[in-house]
Amino acid sequence: MSKPIILYSHKGGPNPWKVAIILEELGLPYETKFVEFQDMKEGPLIDVNPNGRVPAIEDPNTGVAMFESGAIVEYLVETYDKSNNLTYTSSPEKYLLKSWLHFQMSGQGPYFGQKAWFELYHPEKNLKSAIDRYANEIRRVLGVVDAHLKKQGTEYLVGDKCTYADLAWVPWDMALQFLLGEGAKKVEEELPTYKAWHDRLMARPAVQKIVEERTKANSQ
């Protein structure tokens, strides 16, 4: 490939940074375009993503435009990860990765996001049953990861190789403190296998680079 991939992103939202981590890990050139919420229903984003959300990408090398972070991650890995650094071509590993990616997309993202809403943005702060609902779900979902890693005795979700299915979890897990406040530390103490896995992912140079870029973008 020669031309940079265009990544439509937002400084605050976790999901665009998921795609950035994969682009970094694969060493692909890309150009980030930040879109403000009020501009998401307009061109050029709406032409790429009819849902008017980020992330979305345009790949000038293939002419392919994509939306939904999970679908974008699969596209990038299938198109550019020729040496299988972040994936498996062997079965059943190849398909197990999909189970974990889909679990992240449908189990982690939406519920972590709802907790953020009721805790931080919703004008009424006393909706205890709604806040508890999503806090419990965060604890439950991370408990599933913890128990799975413990049972498998592996460093990563599928085998001992870090894959896209692990990396997909990073941005929302990074927000744990923001989502649970004091409770974040408790969850990490209660789920030490999850915590060790998260720290292992955070220590990767590509993840570190994205953390720095995100901090930089938010301080501008």
Binding site: N51, G52, E68, E78, P92, F103, S106, Q114, R133, V144
Partner: protein, 264 residues
């Protein structure tokens, strides 16, 4: 596939929009499969044998004999659908060949359903039908978000003027959406607001694979139920009771686990 008469595929499921995605996919592909009904009310999905198949303790879950003869177990409806077409749809009846533009576009809509329509419509169901206290804001928030997502599907279908989400062919993306759209009224969404989506829903319902697959593991009653308001209320009340019981038990179990962890 195995040469014996016994199907290699077992689908662990119950009658929900996510469960019927898989039975419809299997019917569309004409694959033989066994059905194992999971009784969510008696917490079968939390038993160790089931957690060994799906660590998240949810339906649908699918087990199969892999090409090498060893067993494979998969969870998450989207992943299961991707597996089934990758392995069995070599004629591309409900999928496009890997690396084509249409293949990637199918995945965009598949994830749009799994990360958007499903979770948001599920939350609308929760706040409208099952929540322990009536939080009007919760009902509004999720019903409106579901309506917004339906609007995206409706205008995409209208704009592209094609019978299905990705071109002329029904794909796993359409199948993933159908069970949810067919149950719109349960989440307080009027399908009449979205005429192109409604026509698509009816087109999908005409497909023999959809008709056969939707009645797994038992009759798909939601379309009839939505026509009977009194019965809807009764079913919602019954469901509310056991959903809340499950939530309470989950919270208590987590407390016990925390306690054990502290005592270590």
């Amino acid at each position: 596939m195995s040469t014996s008469d016994e199907p290699t595929i077992t689908l662990y499921t119950t009658q929900t929009p996510n469960g019927i995605k898989i039975s419809i996919t299997l019917e569309e592909l004409g694959l033989p499969y066994k059905v194992h009904k999971i009784d969510l009310k008696t917490d079968v999905q939390k038993e160790p044998w089931f957690l060994a198949l799906n660590p998240n303790g949810r339906i649908p879950t699918l087990s199969d004999t892999f090409t090498d003869g060893s067993p494979i177990a998969l969870f998450e409806s989207g992943a299961i659908m991707q597996y089934l077409v990758a392995r069995y749809d070599s004629d591309h009846k409900i999928s496009y060949p890997a690396h084509t533009r249409e293949f990637h576009e199918t995945n965009c809509w598949l994830f749009f359903q799994n990360a958007g329509v499903g979770p948001m419509q599920g939350q609308a169901n929760h706040f409208l039908r099952y929540a322990p206290e009536k939080i009007e804001y919760g009902v509004q928030r999720y019903t409106n978000e579901t309506r917004r997502l339906y609007g995206v599907l409706d205008s995409h279908l209208e704009k592209t003027n094609r019978p299905y989400l990705v071109g002329e062919k029904c794909t796993i993306a359409d199948i993933a959406c159908w069970g949810w759209v067919a149950a719109a009224g349960w989440a307080g969404v009027e399908i009449e607001e979205f005429p192109t989506l409604k026509a698509w829903e009816e087109r999908m319902a005409q497909r023999p694979g959809v008709e056969k697959g939707r009645h797994v593991p038992e009759r798909h009653g939601i379309k009839d139920l939505l026509k009977d308001k009194a019965k809807m209320e009764r079913i919602a009340n019954e469901s509310r009771e056991w959903v809340q019981k499950g939530m309470k038990e989950d919270a208590e179990r987590m407390e016990r686990e925390k306690q054990r962890e502290r005592e270590k």
